[in-house]
């Protein structure tokens, strides 16, 4: 190491110890932040639009004849880690399947919105929608029955 290099490294060490150059650099970065676009949404005027694939509240799908797709196989109920799905199966009026659910309730307060039910479903009958901001005044209102799930 030449004397010049040694002097330079000593000078750099001094600058680091001085703390001020680093502080000034940091402050310029902080100031630059002021002029960046803001991420806050002014809520009542601007509403958050969830991205594609967002896991919100469930719905039950229907096929092209307007019949529900669900065959009451209980796969979703089994897959659910929060145990919020309850299905009571009954005989099917249609010839292409054995059972349909007579009762299909999801407790939205227990649900953790993991999407396991959607993945487990062999008939592509249950789906998570991007709806995330539904409000209720009682706990009972948040237990969705089959009609509510089909109508969405």
């Amino acid at each position: 190491m030449t004397a010049g290099q040694k002097l330079k490294s000593l000078w750099l060490k001094f600058l680091i110890k001085l703390y001020i150059p680093a502080a000034i650099k940091g402050m310029s970065r902080t100031l630059a932040r002021v002029f960046r676009p803001k991420v806050t949404l002014s809520y009542p005027e601007e509403v958050h639009v969830p991205r594609k694939g967002y896991r919100g509240e469930h719905r039950l799908k229907k096929d092209e004849l307007g019949r529900m797709k669900c065959v009451a196989c209980l796969m979703c109920q089994t897959a659910c880690p929060a145990e919020c799905i309850r299905i009571d199966a009954g005989p099917s009026p249609w010839p292409d399947r054995e059972k349909i659910p007579v009762a299909f309730t999801i407790d939205m307060l227990k649900c953790i919105y993991c999407g396991m039910c959607e993945e487990a479903c062999p008939c592509d009958a249950i789906e998570l929608t991007p709806t995330f901001n539904k409000v209720a005044l009682t706990r009972e209102e948040k237990i969705y029955d089959i009609n509510k799930l089909l109508s969405r």
Binding site: A23, M27, T30, L31, R33, V34, K38, S42
Partner: protein
């Protein structure tokens, strides 16, 4: 009628009252809420948020879009705090508990009276009291504020508050030394560079000396380029100790809102708490006024103010320049707040006693040495 008014305005008492009214009404009552909202909005912007922008001024609104939104928030905060329940904890020393916030608010407000916040208008200097010992007065009054923090912590009958009060008073006492020594550096600069070779501790004369031009500002060595490094060093030392004196980040250990239970004002609620807050902000305003007065040329700015023009408009312009300088420093405070992490207590004490105090002493000696060796004082 008009002659009566001018005669009234010529009375020293009336002039004094107007100036006191301006200092209390503007620097304490108007600038503090303004600073609060500026700090909140700026902090938000630095963090990518929008900040409080919903409450506008009552009746005025945004004056048709001229004012930024959110100016009404400090007012709403004040109303909310006024109507909150005031709790005095059981076993608290009631007198000292109530005296604490006042002892934090009054000293910095009192210190403002020696600050020359503008040039003369007619014969009247824009300064409440033209004290010859102005700097000593401010320093002595400022040191009273330590009692406010210590009383607040002790009278709360809460061991965490007591620890917070001790922490606060230890910090304030330590940094007052560095603060005083860096002010001495400014005084030495005036002594080394004033035309008649005599130093001054009168803030008004100090500003008059600096108002000759930007190169005469004490931060740039007071007119002698050989002294400029010492002026800059003195300014940085003063700035760092002022941050510590005001309990601002990176030295906000007296409070530590999040992790050390709020320090000395843990038990304070309602208006007493907001008086603490106000005292803190007045302290910030006083510190930046001192900085501007001692190092940054006071109310003068070359090209904008003319020290020889004693008209009404020129006087008001000089006040505006002074306020603009203060605001620039206060914004700088906010930038520092969101840039630097907090010091640990041992680091704080190390910095204060092992770095700032020796550096400030060395600075004073260096200025004296350079001043004597070059005898740049014009009088000799």
């Amino acid at each position: 009628m008009a002659t009566q008014l001018t005669r009234l305005l010529e009375m020293p008492l009336v002039q004094g009252l107007i100036k006191i009214g301006f200092v209390i009404g503007f620097f304490v009552l108007a600038l503090v809420p303004l600073m609060v909202i500026i700090e909140r909005r700026l902090s938000a912007w630095m963090q990518g948020r929008l900040g409080p922008n919903r409450v506008d001024l009552p009746w005025l609104g945004r004056l048709g879009g001229i004012l930024p939104s959110g100016l009404g928030h400090p007012l709403a905060d004040a109303i909310k705090l006024l109507f909150k329940e005031e709790i005095i904890p059981e076993g608290a020393d009631k007198f000292l508990f109530c005296a604490g916030p006042l002892l934090v608010l009054i000293p910095p407000a009192l210190g403002m009276i020696v600050i020359p916040f503008g040039n003369q208008i007619g014969d009247a200097p824009l300064q409440v009291a033209d004290l010859g010992v102005g700097i000593l007065f401010t320093m002595s009054v400022l040191s009273v504020a330590v009692y406010g923090l210590a009383f607040g912590g002790w009278a709360s009958n809460n061991k965490y508050s007591l620890l917070g009060g001790l922490r606060a008073s230890a910090q304030l006492v330590s940094y007052e030394l560095a603060l005083g020594l860096s002010i001495i550096a400014a005084v030495m600069l005036t002594a080394a560079t004033s035309p008649d070779g005599s130093g001054t501790i009168n803030p008004r004369i100090m500003v008059d000396l600096q108002s000759r031009g930007i190169q005469y500002w004490n931060v740039f060595g007071g007119g002698d380029w050989r002294l400029a490094p010492f002026g800059i060093l003195g300014f940085i030392l003063f700035f760092v100790s002022a941050l510590a004196e005001n309990n601002r980040l990176p030295f906000d250990l007296p409070e530590c809102e999040a992790e050390l239970v709020g320090g000395y004002h843990t038990e304070y609620s309602s208006m007493k708490f907001s008086v603490f807050m106000m005292g803190e902000y007045v302290g910030m305003i006083l510190m930046s006024s001192l900085m501007v007065t001692f190092f940054l040329g006071g109310w003068s700015f070359p090209g904008i103010t003319d020290p020889k023009n004693h008209g009404l408009f020129a006087g008001l312009l000089s006040v505006a320049v002074f306020v603009a300088k203060i605001m620039a420093i206060l914004v700088f405070y906010v930038v520092i707040r969101w840039t630097l992490p907090r010091f640990k207590y041992n680091q704080l004490m190390n910095l204060g006693w092992k770095r700032l105090v020796p550096l400030a002493l060395a600075n004073v000696l260096a200025i004296a040495a350079v001043g004597v060796l070059t005898s740049s004082g014009g009088g000799k």
